[in-house]
């Protein structure tokens, strides 16, 4: 873990010096990163309580700075679990303090994001942060700052209030320097995509220009919560192994393996230890560093463990993803949408599930210029940057032959890919795009292909329908002329009625499809 390697400076200090790692590299990026960190904490807090989130987000401009940026107040309110009063100062004022150290899918991992946001606000404005929170009892209000050098909170004010309505939740308000006009588009995209994969959340956003954005809840259904699980031996590293071994109360390595890792039966443990050349009766605490390295390396290649337990994952689910996409893309009944959830798979000992969806139709054509628009999500967080470096881009643009599915280069499509895992294979610390891990790449490809097969049927149907429409148009065009000139030619007065003939032609189009007044143009 990093804190061991950087003992000389405090973690706060480290992140103060390396804030671009967390996305605070410049003022326009900072607002986006701040919203993102705080919003994700809020969503996690609500999900922990199993309650549909109500999030209120407000950014107001305080004053412009000399460098063209501005100081803003950022306020976020949620209806989550709330933070117990005793934990508030350290939770928000100390880096690496949090509730997310267990191995299960969560948006953040180390409780770092919220604190780093506060840290960034403090160093750019030198203003304290206000935290208000309640777990249902009294309401606690804190005004505090971070002692960066010593990585600890400095409480400036603490007030306790009554909570007659038994409010639960947290409010964070802080000031920070940023450039809203330049981050506006990303921020909106981020909120929209967040709403897409969290259709059970109600998000209200008031921007510095006083505009109100509402991302309304479309369902009360929430995905089942993930179960915490033991680590799988394939994914263990030397440091984690060493730590577990140093604190265990178990006296022999065989029981230690079975109790601390998933997927190891008695027989498997025997076979594994034999393969690692370690005596099963060895006390874990007496393992030499060489033994530990050998155990970890052997574990990585040992094939007889059970597959990692996917119950620690919390995919969105086909139904919820469909709800979210219909809502945020404004899809109508006649538009195409196919959502696919793959079976759990693993890479390097980490379980993961791929969910993918393809949307197509007139609604999509209206909002895109044609071609494939990609939406990427990792553990229900939208990924907005470096799209063309990520695995999804590679799958969409390199691996899938869209022609097979009757998709041409300007067919308007939306492709959504959600990767959920206990460890998302990010390629960089910036957590903006997912690496092309072969297993992950394969699952994404299969998921999209699966959805694309349904798309092909839809497009074929649309083409057929368009053909029928064209047929009908031809009859509508020529029959009146035939009627007109045959009337003139035969010296008749009244033009005969061609309506009965047109009815005959149009009956070849099934009734359901006739209702669709306009046929999607497949180019």
């Amino acid at each position: 873990m990093t804190e061991l390697e950087y003992q000389a400076i405090s973690p706060s200090d480290f992140f103060y010096r390396n804030r671009e790692i967390a996305g605070f590299s410049n003022p326009s990026r900072a607002i986006y990163a701040a919203v993102r960190e705080l919003l994700e904490n809020s969503l996690d807090a609500c999900e922990a309580r199993r309650i549909p989130p109500n999030i209120y987000l407000r950014i107001t401009e305080v004053a412009p700075t000399e460098s063209g940026t501005s100081i803003y107040t950022l306020r976020i309110e949620d209806n989550g679990t709330g933070v117990p009063s005793a934990h508030i100062p350290r939770c928000f004022g100390q880096v690496f303090y949090g509730s997310k150290y267990e191995l299960r899918q969560a948006r953040g991992t180390f409780g770092l994001g919220g604190t780093i946001t506060i840290l960034y606000g403090q160093i750019t404005t030198h203003k304290p942060v206000w935290i208000t929170s309640s777990t249902g009892g009294e309401i606690h209000e804190y005004e505090m700052m971070i002692d960066i050098e010593h990585n600890r909170p400095v409480i400036m004010k603490h007030a306790v209030g009554e909570n007659k309505r038994e409010w639960k939740g947290t409010v964070v308000e802080l000031q920070l320097e940023g450039d809203y006009s330049r981050s506006m588009y990303r921020l909106y995209e981020y909120l929209k995509q967040t709403a897409m994969v969290n259709p059970y959340a109600d998000i209200t956003f008031v921007d510095p220009k006083g505009r109100l954005y509402l991302f309304k809840r479309a369902t009360d259904q929430m995905p089942p919560p993930p179960n915490p699980v033991k680590p799988h031996p394939h994914g263990i590293d030397v440091e984690t192994f060493r730590r577990l071994a140093s604190v265990t109360k178990v006296k022999n390595i065989k029981t230690f393996m079975m109790e601390n890792f998933q997927g190891i039966s008695r027989t498997t443990a025997d076979k594994f230890l034999e393969a690692a050349n370690v005596n099963g009766k060895t006390n874990p605490k007496t393992l030499s560093p060489d033994d530990i390295v050998r155990l970890v390396r052997t574990a990585r290649d040992f094939n007889e463990f059970k597959r990692p337990d996917p119950s620690c994952l919390s995919p969105i689910g086909e139904e919820l993803l469909e709800t979210g996409m219909r809502k945020e893309l404004g899809l109508s009944e006649s538009d195409f949408l196919k959502v696919v959830q793959r079976k759990p798979a693993t890479y390097l000992g980490f379980p993961f599930i791929i969910e993918a969806a393809i949307a197509h139709g007139r609604s999509i054509a209206r909002q895109t210029k044609g071609g494939i628009t990609i939406y990427r999500f990792a553990n229900r967080i939208p990924l907005l940057f470096d799209e063309s470096s990520g695995v999804v881009w590679k799958v969409v643009n390199k691996l899938i032959n869209w022609g097979t599915y009757k998709v041409s280069s300007d067919t308007p499509l939306v492709a959504v890919v959600h990767v959920c895992s206990t460890k998302i294979p990010y390629k960089t610390v910036g957590k903006e795009y997912i690496a092309d891990q072969p297993e992950v790449e394969k699952e994404i490809t299969n998921a999209l292909r699966n959805a694309a097969r349904s798309l092909r049927l839809y497009i074929s149907r649309s083409i057929r329908l368009a053909k029928e429409k064209r047929r009908l148009n031809i009859f509508e065009k020529f029959l009146p002329k035939i009627a007109e000139f045959s009337t003139k030619l035969s010296d008749q007065r009244e033009i005969p009625d061609i309506q009965p003939l047109l009815e005959v032609v149009s009956t070849s189009i099934p009734d359901v499809e006739k209702k669709i007044s306009e046929v999607p143009q497949i180019v």
Partner: protein, 363 residues
């Protein structure tokens, strides 16, 4: 005489008008009966064009097709056919004529009816001919004019403004253009006893200059290459109605040979029509044997010429011995000669020596 001729012309016009109106009636009633309109006509596809040895021309076979407006591929040409029929009837009613090209342009601006190009409109006109069993000249649609006629033949016009007016075809020394007025005119009288058909304008002018019409007592017809249908119609009429034998004089090459043959036996394109072929007509040269006999200046046959000659050999219209013999000689000597080749013996040689000898040997 004149009144009788006029009545005949009127009668013919009225009968074609009636045909056209009937076509309109059929279509109109079909729509009224909630039926997709359709018409039946003989198929003009190549496998339905057969050579009739008795008529000595190509004719359409028994196969018929239905132009059906229920068929998505037929409805556009069907609409165009009805429009063209209406247009033709207007021509007759107004006593106007129109060229094929004008028909094409007249449809311009008629949304959804207009033709993509002239060959499309020409094709629809041919459909109408097939459907009515009448040549387009009967409903006043003509090709562009280029062929001419000269000789002692008195005609009487039937076109508006000229009704009853007469003219002798020797009146103009360049010859008279074979246009709608001439085509629709009546042939009153002639002192000629034969028709001489010439492929090329230069030779036609030479014959007029040398008074060949008097010397041979002939009506001269200039086809200007492959003869237009109106010209073939006139040759047919002169042969059938006035018992004039017809002699055809073309270049000595496969193309000239075929110009003669189309006059004699008709073309596959006009297999749906009668009254265009003149089976009695005779091709008198330039023969391949003439090239040898008269030692004419020649050019070599091209590969294309040779290929064409071989095609002609397999053509059922060429089954007579004369044709086969000449084609074989062409192939054997590998040479061809133009009409003008006789000029090597002086400009008048052809009139003074060659033609008299030829005509004598034929008759």
């Amino acid at each position: 005489m004149s009144e009788k001729l006029m009545r005949e012309a009127d009668r013919q016009r009225e009968s074609v008008e009636l045909y056209l109106k009937q076509l309109g009636n059929i279509v109109y009633e079909q729509i009224q009966n909630r039926e997709f309109p359709w018409i039946m006509m003989q198929s003009r596809s190549t496998d339905n064009i057969v050579y009739d040895p008795d008529l000595r021309q190509y004719v359409l076979g028994d196969r018929t097709i239905r132009r059906h407006s229920r068929n998505i591929r037929h409805i556009r040409p069907f609409t165009q056919l009805v429009w063209t029929a209406w247009f033709a009837r207007e021509l007759l009613r107004l006593r106007k004529t129109s060229t094929l090209r004008e028909v094409y342009y007249s449809a311009r601006g008629q949304r959804d009816i207009e033709f993509k190009n002239q060959s499309e409109s020409d094709n629809i006109i041919t459909d109408l001919e097939t459907a009515l069993n009448k040549p387009r000249e009967n409903f006043n649609i003509f090709p562009e004019e280029r062929s001419a006629i000269f000789g002692d033949l008195t005609i009487e016009y039937t076109v508006p403004g000229y009704e009853g007016r007469r003219m002798n075809l020797t009146d103009h020394p360049d010859g008279v253009m074979i246009g709608p007025a001439l085509t629709s005119s009546k042939f009153v009288e002639t002192s000629a006893d034969k028709v001489l058909v010439i492929e090329k304008g230069a030779m036609f002018t030479r014959l007029v200059e040398e008074k060949a019409h008097e010397r041979f007592n002939a009506i001269l017809v200039h086809t200007a290459g492959q003869s237009p249908r109106s010209t073939r119609g006139i040759i047919h009429r002169l042969n059938r109605d006035h018992d004039l034998p017809v002699y055809i004089f073309t270049d000595g090459d496969p193309w000239g040979v075929h110009i003669a043959m189309v006059i004699i036996s008709g073309s596959a394109n006009a297999a749906h029509l009668r009254g265009l072929a003149t089976p009695e007509a005779k091709w008198i040269g330039v023969w391949a044997t003439d090239i040898i006999d008269y030692k004419l200046p020649t050019e070599n046959l091209t590969d294309y010429d040779v290929k064409r000659l071989k095609e002609l050999k397999d053509d059922p219209r060429y089954r007579d011995d004369l044709w086969h013999k000449e084609i074989d000689v062409f192939l054997k000597i590998g040479k061809k000669a133009e009409l003008e080749a006789f000029s090597r013996y002086g400009l008048t040689y052809i009139v003074d020596d060659y033609l008299p000898a030829k005509l004598e040997s034929i008759s």
